[in-house]
């Protein structure tokens, strides 16, 4: 709280004081009062005025500085009301009252929106379970009646499945609630499941799935990690180069305090100017625009999920040469001791 601004707000008090003081002086002169009386009473006047001006200033300054500082220091500034002690002055009490009401109405609003969000998420989950039944039936039918369904049907069904999964994990990862279970997970198993799921796509596109030395365990949710890895593998398939020896190479680097999963391909790569934005929502970049196959959601959801699980995800690329994605899992020493 700046004094100059406070003074400006209280300028009227100063003016009233000057006017009163002027009138007083006139009265003194009119009655030919002794000079020493005028000086001493002027002095008292001045002191009184200063007190009237300064005491409320210091009191208010304490209150408002506190309020402002707390607001800035809190990561959720709307909780500032909780940090205030109940004020003993009427003016501040009104402010407190108003803040309280505002807070209350905002909380009601937020909880209403949270509720509708939760409803929506539940609906999406239910819808996905419903839609998976005809999808599963179609997959079985395409297998049982090979004469009626060719390989293309299978690949299209797979795409459908991928998009459905994307919605499911988007709903899960955007939700504030904890929807995952972290436990010790075999990386080789996750990599195998992703490979099996995308086998047809990989073979169809003549991309070698090279898996090197991945017998490591990490702390994660295996289903979530499977989805994350699938987004990366899907991208590698989508953005492969037209060369003979296309590959996706998956390897693990095990260090003292972390395990790094590396997924490398020799596809078309990502333009340097696009690289920083690949994890942004709905970002498709030049590759996406050129191939028209991108929703810009896969990596965004993957990044979100990594953040929730506490993994780091990073990307490196050189156009027309390679793309490398690194997922870093922290090791938990405490967990090791428990074993």
């Amino acid at each position: 709280m700046k004094f100059s601004k406070y003074f400006k707000d209280n300028l009227y008090k100063f003016l009233i004081f000057i006017i009163c003081y002027g009138i007083n002086l006139l009265i003194f002169f009119a009655f030919k009062v002794d000079k020493s009386v005028i000086i001493s009473s002027s002095f008292i006047y001045l002191i009184c005025f200063l007190f009237i001006l300064l005491i409320p200033y210091y009191k208010k300054r304490n209150f408002y500085t506190n309020l402002l500082l707390n607001t800035q220091a809190l990561d959720k500034s709307y909780l500032v009301l909780e940090t205030l002690t109940k004020p003993e002055f009427y003016e501040r009490e009104l402010l407190y009252q108003a803040l309280y009401e505002i807070n209350k109405s905002m909380n009601e609003n937020v909880s209403r929106i949270e509720e509708s969000l939760q409803d929506f998420k539940e609906y999406i989950e239910m819808w996905i379970h419903e839609v998976k039944i005809p999808l599963a039936t179609l997959v079985l039918m395409s297998n049982n009646h090979k004469e009626q369904f060719d390989k293309k049907t299978k690949l299209q069904l797979k795409r459908l499945e991928d998009y459905v999964d994307q919605v499911l994990y988007y709903a899960r990862s955007e939700n504030a609630e904890k929807d995952y279970l972290i436990k010790e997970t075999d990386l080789s198993k996750v990599i195998k499941n992703v490979g099996l799921k995308n086998m047809d796509d990989l073979l169809e596109n003549k991309i070698d799935y090279i898996v090197e030395n991945v017998q490591y365990k990490v702390l994660t949710d295996s289903k979530w990690l499977e989805f994350i890895l699938e987004q990366i593998v899907n991208n590698s398939i989508k953005y492969k180069r037209n060369i003979d020896n296309s590959y996706i190479k998956i390897s693990v680097q095990d260090e003292f305090d972390k395990t790094i999963l590396k997924i490398e391909d020799n596809g078309i790569g990502i333009k340097e100017s696009d690289l920083k934005q690949v994890f942004d929502k709905s970002f498709t970049g030049e590759n996406g625009r050129n191939t028209n196959k991108s929703t810009g959601m896969g990596l965004f959801i993957a990044k979100n999920m990594c953040e929730k699980l506490g993994h780091k995800i990073a990307i490196e690329s050189k156009e027309n040469e390679y793309t490398k994605v690194y997922i870093t899992f922290a090791k938990n020493k405490y967990y090791d001791v428990l074993k």
């Binding site: 996905i128 379970h129 998976k132 039944i133 999808l135 599963a136 039936t137 179609l138 997959v139 079985l140 039918m141 297998n143 049982n144 069904l157 499945e161 999964d165 499911l168 929807d179 995952y180 279970l181 436990k183 080789s188 195998k192 490979g195 099996l196 799921k197 086998m199 047809d200 073979l203 003549k206 070698d208 799935y209 090279i210 898996v211 949710d221 295996s222 289903k223 979530w224």
Partner: protein
């Protein structure tokens, strides 16, 4: 006639039930569809299947609850087949006593491999304790990875073992390249189309060395058959 494992399907979507039982019957299993969900437990005990495919969302009783009450009575292997893809549900199902957990929509080849694996693990498969398979006069030792006839013994590579074991388990039936591919990838052998072709011709040559020419026949656009 080989013993056919009885598999019970507990699932309320009729179309899926029919397609599942078709898939199972095509692969030498006897499929039984549970009709009376009200008396599910009794029906199961009465039929005493070798394995149960159980969906979580079934009428009258929740799949997990059914599994819990089943486990009080019997150890019949159960594979949860569900559309809920979540680690939490999987952990719950396993803790209730499920032997495996597969999410819809599943790849049929993978489903069959999982069924085979669970049956093997639970030791009621017809060849569960046999480490040695036989093909005509040829002896196939899976753990050692060798084929032997009379005094000639040949070593097979890991890929050849997987392929030969799969063909042998589907004797006299056409096996698609897709199925072989899935079996290989399921064993973390991520081979490509060329490698599969090479592996099969190597296996053929090894069988030829033991005197079995044309044991593995190629059926155009369909796959291979061991006969």
């Amino acid at each position: 006639m080989r013993y056919m494992n009885k598999i019970m399907i507990i699932e309320d979507d009729e179309l899926i039930c029919n397609e599942l039982s078709k898939l199972l019957e095509n692969n030498n299993y006897e499929a039984i569809i549970l009709k009376d969900f009200k008396n599910a437990l009794n029906e199961i005990i009465k039929t005493s299947p070798d394995l149960i495919l159980l969906d979580i969302n079934i009428p009258f009783i929740n799949g997990e609850a059914l599994l819990q009450s089943l486990r009080k009575e019997s150890n019949i292997p159960v594979i949860m087949v569900t559309s809920i893809n979540s680690e939490i549900d999987e952990a719950l199902s396993i803790s209730y006593g499920a032997d495996d957990y597969i999410t819809k929509p599943y790849n049929p080849n993978i489903l069959l491999l999982r069924i085979g694996a669970v049956l093997k693990r639970t030791k009621i498969n017809y060849n569960s304790n046999i480490k040695e398979l036989t093909y005509k006069e040829l002896k196939f030792d899976i753990t050692k990875g060798t084929i032997r006839k009379d005094n000639i013994e040949l070593k097979l590579t890991k890929n050849e073992i997987i392929i030969f074991a799969y063909l042998l388990n589907h004797l006299n039936k056409i096996v698609t390249r897709d199925e072989l591919m899935t079996a290989l990838w399921d064993n973390s052998e991520y081979v490509n189309e060329n490698a599969l072709t090479v592996n099969i011709s190597r296996l053929r040559n090894k069988l030829k060395e033991l005197g079995y020419c044309d044991a593995i026949d190629t059926r155009k656009k369909m796959g291979y058959i061991l006969s």
